[in-house]
């Protein structure tokens, strides 16, 4: 997928799939694509930049709510709402990044956890603006140039979002910035000695990935055409973390594998354990941390390496 042709082909294949699915499958497919998008950006923040944050899903929610509020309460036309939404996501990400990146390790995790909970509290108490505990519903995406973008065409939008996110992250990773993020994660003192401004690097990584989550949220707003507080709670933040770790932290492929596996697993396991798939996720998480810290991708790599050594 490293060339434009590769990307175009992938986009075509993923979009074609959208036209072949029934309405229930479409819903699953769309959400899968969104989870993969989130996992990719979270993987950059957590796995590559090494920041343990629980705010990713919160920015997803901020993006979603911002979009709905800007369109239907502030009454902006669609193009303006999109621009304002993106601007808001970036701005808020920056505002949170500046104090947050001063915290290390667990303190960052705690502060972002508190931030995530605070978001839910604000949503619940937001009265008419946020729709309070019930949230906002019964809206739909305004027509674009007089056409309704719906069904498989909206799925194509999500495909483009996913590929755009993947391409951006991939470029960032394969550059001095990606190396700087890894250096800061591995050894901030040595990174400083190499001329890397550790604080600026952390802020950039946090802002970019959180803004990406926000933009994904803006797209999400029209998937179920409803936004309410429970969707953006801590449970999903934990799930995102589990996806990245189980798949293989620090690797794009790992994020994709983890997201697909953990998102689709409940559908498979439902007949066996009802809603308690979180139990399986928790066990997977513990198992991966204990036995295969490189995640599923690590297992795959090991397997491929063995095959190569066989004459």
């Amino acid at each position: 997928m490293k060339t434009f042709a590769g990307f175009a082909l992938t986009a075509l294949v993923l979009s074609a799939l959208a036209f072949m699915l029934g309405s229930y499958q479409t819903d699953v497919y769309r959400k899968l694509l969104l989870w993969v998008t989130l996992a990719l950006s979270y993987n950059f923040l957590f796995g590559i930049a090494g920041q343990v944050a629980f705010s990713h899903f919160t920015f997803y929610g901020i993006g979603a709510y911002a979009m709905v509020i800007l369109l239907f309460q502030v009454g902006l036309p669609l193009p303006l709402a999109i621009l304002a939404g993106i601007g808001l996501c970036v701005l808020l990400a920056l505002v949170v990044a500046i104090p947050a990146t001063r915290l290390e390790g667990f303190y960052l995790a705690l502060a972002t956890l508190a931030f995530a909970q605070l978001f839910i509290v604000v949503l619940n108490e937001g009265g008419a603006v946020t729709g309070a505990a019930g949230g906002l519903a019964n809206y739909r995406l305004p027509d674009v140039f007089g056409m309704r973008v719906t069904g498989p065409w909206y799925t194509v939008v999500i495909v483009l979002l996913l590929l755009g996110t993947q391409a951006s992250l991939w470029r960032l990773d394969r550059s001095w910035f990606g190396r700087a993020c890894r250096a800061v994660r591995d050894d901030p003192q040595a990174a400083q000695a190499m001329g890397i401004n550790v604080t600026a690097t952390r802020i950039a990584a946090y802002t970019i990935t959180s803004a990406m989550a926000g933009v994904a949220g803006m797209v999400y707003a029209f998937v179920d055409n409803t936004v309410n507080p429970p969707i953006f709670g801590l449970e999903n933040s934990f799930l995102l973390l589990f996806m990245v770790i189980v798949g293989g932290s620090g690797r794009h492929a790992g994020a994709i594998v983890g997201a697909i596996l953990l998102y689709l697993l409940p559908f498979v396991l439902s007949p066996l354990i009802g809603h308690h798939h979180a139990l399986v996720f928790g066990l997977f998480m513990v198992a991966v941390v204990l036995f295969q810290p490189k995640g599923l991708i690590g297992i795959w790599d090991g397997w491929m390496a063995k095959r190569r050594t066989v004459p």
Binding site: Q117, F242, L279, G282, L283
Partner: protein
């Protein structure tokens, strides 16, 4: 006036619960540097244990309590043995045990959810539902029980750390792990003891708080957050800090709910805002930690 005092008593009781959870974190963090996300779930487990032992099987309180705390000691020891020790001995990065414990948080919660269902279950208080009124001071029996028990636990913890050899070895490990090991302190035993004690304290908190709020499989995380907030406010390094932080947090919370002109739902945000403020402005908390090398 009596109203005000009763509010104070209630706040102190809440504060004690937070303080116990904070102590629970401290007992593990000091000697091992591991942050145990799962303390809230430990409290939750104990609460359900209390439900089973005291409501379902109707055992006398002291017996039920002993069984539950005993079980928690076992749970703490097992958690360390299975999820933490292999990582520490392998030299895994510091983040690894924390992530493993996060996974355990979800596992504990789901096990309870599967086993006991999603409905809240009642847990009886130690001395029944009566009220005590001594002059100006008034409050429920449970509030006073919580305060007294917490005082006992903290008193023992203080005594343990200040006056006993085992307690000193905890401090030694906290200050410098490698040096402590070289001095012959058995790191494994200290770690196992730390986890067991932490679980027992968290369990006590769960047993004490559940008569008021019922045992519910989702009660763990809010408690864990409040406990950690108390720890950060009071000072991450000291036993007294846990108590101070808990009380300050509870008083701030209750007084905001009671007297501040903001909707009660928003008052839930108070501990969260306090946590964020302290983490940013004064991460070492109000009480300075004792001499500890970075």
């Amino acid at each position: 006036m009596r109203d005000f005092v009763e509010l104070i008593v209630g706040a102190m009781a809440s504060g004690c619960i937070y303080a116990l959870v904070a102590l629970s974190y401290l007992l593990i963090t000091r000697p091992t540097g591991v942050i145990n996300f799962a303390v809230g779930e430990w409290s939750m487990l104990a609460a359900f244990g209390g439900f089973l032992a005291l409501s379902r099987f109707e055992l006398p309180y002291p017996v039920g309590m002993a069984i539950v705390i005993g079980a928690m000691v076992l749970v703490g020891w097992l958690t360390e043995r299975m999820a933490v020790r292999p990582l520490v001995e392998r030299g895994a990065p510091a983040l690894a045990p924390i992530l493993a414990l996060l996974g355990m948080l979800v596992v504990f919660r789901e096990i309870v959810s599967v086993g006991m269902g999603p409905d809240p279950q009642p847990v009886p208080p130690m001395f029944g539902y009566g009220r005590l009124e001594l002059g100006l001071v008034a409050g429920s029996y449970q509030s006073f029980t919580i305060i007294v028990v917490t005082a006992l636990v903290f008193g023992s913890a203080w005594y343990f750390f200040e006056r006993t050899l085992a307690g000193r070895s905890f401090e030694a490990v906290a200050i410098d792990r490698r040096a402590a090991a070289l001095m012959g302190i058995n790191l494994r035993r200290v770690t196992a003891l730390a986890f067991a004690a932490s679980a027992a304290v968290a369990g006590m908190a769960g047993l004490l708080v559940s008569p008021n709020v019922s045992a519910h499989y989702m009660m763990g995380l809010p408690l864990a957050i409040q406990g950690f907030t108390a720890l950060v406010i009071g000072g991450v390094g000291r036993v007294e800090g846990a108590l101070l932080g808990g009380l300050i947090l509870a008083v701030a919370e209750q007084f905001t709910v009671r007297y501040a002109p903001i909707p009660p739902g928003l008052a839930q945000g108070v501990p969260l805002v306090l946590l964020i403020l302290f983490l940013l402005l004064r991460p070492t908390g109000l009480l300075r930690a004792r001499e500890s090398r970075a």
